[in-house]
């Protein structure tokens, strides 16, 4: 129960006017980016990150995480009212959300979406509250070999479990790790891969890359679409909210199932997108009346939204406890931690208690405040869509440029950002995944350090990664996951050749 006391302390840290104000600002900005077409969680956080450089770490993370919650809430608005998913994980919400809006039940659908997002996040935050301190205290015993094994596990699970072509994930990851190594080598002080350029001496800044990859490239991609839109305007009355809430207990199984799926996929790098579809499909499969799905059934809104938000929130668990982000947005937040001078990883829970518990408390508070905020201000946010994209696009470009420049006061970084924008655009179109690329960029130097330290400890013997039960298990698991598609196929072909009776028993 130590966690509860620390959590209360976290709330005490938060309850100042300044922090609450930042929270509101973050939420409003977040809903704003969530509603805008082509912008979402990772883009919003990446673009607005520079605003926080002059803040203290706690205020900064509170504001950034609120931008993230806001973006998660905002995605639902466009999906339901306009049939335009603001985010890939809102796609499943459109299946039943938009039909509901067409039937004049937009307010119910929105209330259902916001409420279930809230429930999903809440379950995941509770998981973080009790699990993260435990994992991090366990991880405090980790040495360099264990850390490298955990990094390896993260990378391998992306390759093995990702839905993209395997070689494209490998390309994304190797490229990210390589780019992270450009500049001065931290161990020997020697220059690597700079080719005599003084600008490359500082290395490729992770945040500059992210602003280009997620901000600029998203603008380029969005411009390809026809950006005209038509949709419903809606306002939510208190009576609708209460009516939907009164029915909530009926759907507890759907909510519970989606929360569990979301938490699980959030911690493993499956992501919110997979979680939302899985939540929707399972709700449909377990329903007595499957045909009514897709025609405006409220469960079809509950299920994907709960799962997506549980997953988006749970992705912060490995980031806080181990310093390994579970999603693209978590990776960007992790980059932020480093800018504010914090060293992500298990030591965070020991050295920066105020920060960690302030952040966890802000997840609770941010979700409550966010729920009230979106429920009461939906009409305003929906009307943001009246602003033509031709006005929004150049403003986003300017914000990106300001962000990229502000990080190191370097013009070179602005050009780098533009380059990464083009790379992100092309990669997205030929389906080279950006999430592992981002992850590799942010973890690259730490993974390399862990590897080299392990090698120095063992005198160059690879057996160090199987030296004890713990590290051996993680390393073996990593390799199993890397070849998981092959193993899966092998198992499938074996079970196919066994007689059906044996299969039924198994």
């Amino acid at each position: 129960m130590e966690a509860l006391g620390l959590l209360l302390h976290g709330f005490a840290v938060l309850l100042t006017w300044k922090t609450l104000l930042l929270m509101m600002v973050g939420l409003v900005l977040g809903v704003f980016v969530g509603v805008l077409p082509g912008l979402g969680g990772p883009n919003g956080v990446a673009i607005l990150l520079p605003l926080t450089f002059s803040m203290d770490p706690t205020s900064a993370i509170v504001m950034l995480s609120c931008i993230y919650w806001g973006a998660l809430f905002g995605g639902a608005i466009t999906s339901i009212l306009f049939n335009i998913p603001g985010e890939a994980w809102s796609v499943a919400t459109t299946f039943d959300g938009y039909p509901m809006a067409q039937q004049g039940k937009a307010a119910e659908a929105l209330t259902a979406a916001f409420t279930s997002s809230f429930i999903g996040s809440l379950v995941a935050v509770m998981l973080i509250t009790f699990l993260a301190p435990w994992i991090s205290s366990f991880a405090l015993k980790f040495g360099p070999p264990e850390f490298f094994a955990v990094y390896l596990l993260t990378f391998c699970s992306f390759v093995g479990l990702g839905r993209e072509d395997k070689h494209k994930t490998v390309i994304a990851m190797a490229l990210g790790l390589l780019l992270a190594g450009v500049g001065m080598d931290t161990v020997s002080g020697q220059l690597r891969m700079t080719f005599g350029s003084t600008d490359l001496l500082r290395g490729i800044n992770f945040l500059v890359a992210v602003i280009g990859l997620f901000g600029i490239s998203e603008i380029l991609l969005t411009m390809e679409e026809r950006l005209a839109l038509r949709g419903h305007a809606a306002s939510i009355s208190l009576r609708t909210v209460l009516a939907v809430w009164k029915d909530l207990p009926k759907y507890w199984m759907t909510l519970f199932r989606s929360s569990v799926i979301g938490c699980w996929l959030g911690i493993t790098p499956g992501g919110a997108i997979a979680a939302s579809f899985m939540g929707y499909n399972l709700a449909k499969r377990f329903s007595k009346d499957q045909d009514s799905f897709g025609k405006g059934r409220i469960e079809g809104v509950f299920a994907p939204e709960t799962a997506a938000h549980a997953s988006g929130t749970a992705a912060l668990l490995p980031m806080l406890a181990l310093g390994i982000p579970g999603s693209g947005t978590a990776a960007i937040l992790l980059g932020g931690l480093m800018v504010w001078g914090l060293n992500p990883g298990p030591l965070l829970f020991v050295e920066h208690k105020d920060f960690v518990w302030g952040l966890i408390a802000s997840m609770y508070l941010g979700n409550v405040v966010g729920l009230v905020l979106v429920l009461s201000t939906v009409p305003i946010f929906a009307s943001i869509l009246r602003v033509p994209f031709a006005a929004v696009a150049p403003m986003i470009v300017v914000s990106c440029a300001i962000g990229a420049y502000a990080i190191q006061n370097a013009m070179f970084d602005v050009w780098l950002m533009l380059g990464f924008g083009v790379v992100g655009y092309v990669f997205k179109k030929i389906k080279i995944p950006l999430a592992p690329f981002t992850l590799a960029l942010v973890l690259g130097s730490r993974a390399e350090d862990a590897f080299r330290q392990s090698m120095i400890i063992s005198g160059g013997n690879m057996k160090v990664f199987w030296a004890n039960g713990l590290v051996g298990t993680i390393t073996t698991l990593a390799i199993v996951l890397l070849f998981w598609p092959l193993i899966d196929r092998l198992v499938a072909s074996v079970s196919k050749s066994t007689p059906p009776a044996a299969k039924a028993e198994a």
């Binding site: 450089f53 039937q103 490229l175 150049p394 179109k429």
Partner: protein, 180 residues
């Protein structure tokens, strides 16, 4: 029972046409990108080999880790070239149509000019020009609206970053004239 009114509608006057011909297929781009990545892998592998990619008395040399990554990148790119050549699915996928490319260039070229201009004019003047020009030309929005929006946005950015948050941005002759 569709009694809800459609109340929000936004037009897109310069939207790309639906039936525009494809410029190139995903396969062509995939092969091109894989070739570029292969080239990059060879270049980086060579550079890291030069830095030292073996072992010395203290452990792995600085080039060791990146050298093997370059090898992995090169291998995956080679595989990618083969896979892309054999993929008939990618050959059918359009990378970009001509109309889409025109629109993408309509953002990319101004952005490029904006980045160049910000070195001489300062970021605030450059962003004023970018926003006003873009709204007018691409969005076909009334001139006074474009100018006003661009001015307000640049002014807010200036106050937020230069005055309140003390973040130093590139400035040009206009700011200098006002003593900043």
């Amino acid at each position: 029972m569709s009694n809800a009114e459609l109340e929000i509608a936004v037009d897109d006057p310069t939207a790309p046409e639906e039936n525009s011909p494809a410029v190139t297929s995903n396969r062509t781009v995939d092969v091109g990108v894989s070739l570029l990545l292969l080239g990059l892998a060879v270049l980086l592998a060579w550079d890291n080999w030069r830095t030292g990619a073996s072992w010395d008395s203290t452990g792995p040399e600085p080039g060791y880790f990146p050298f093997y990554l370059s090898v992995i990148l090169g291998g995956a790119s080679l595989y990618g070239i083969g896979a892309a050549f054999l993929s008939s699915k990618e050959a059918r996928e359009t990378f970009v149509t001509r109309a889409q490319l025109r629109r993408v260039m309509a953002v990319f070229v101004p952005t490029l000019l904006f980045c160049m201009a910000m070195q001489f004019l300062g970021i605030y003047v450059a962003s004023f020009l970018l926003i006003a020009g873009f709204m007018r030309v691409v969005g076909k929005i009334a001139i006074w609206k474009s100018l006003l929006t661009a001015f307000l946005f640049s002014a807010v950015m200036f106050v937020t970053f230069d005055v309140v948050f003390d973040v130093i941005m590139p400035k040009g002759p206009l700011e200098a004239a006002f003593g900043y």
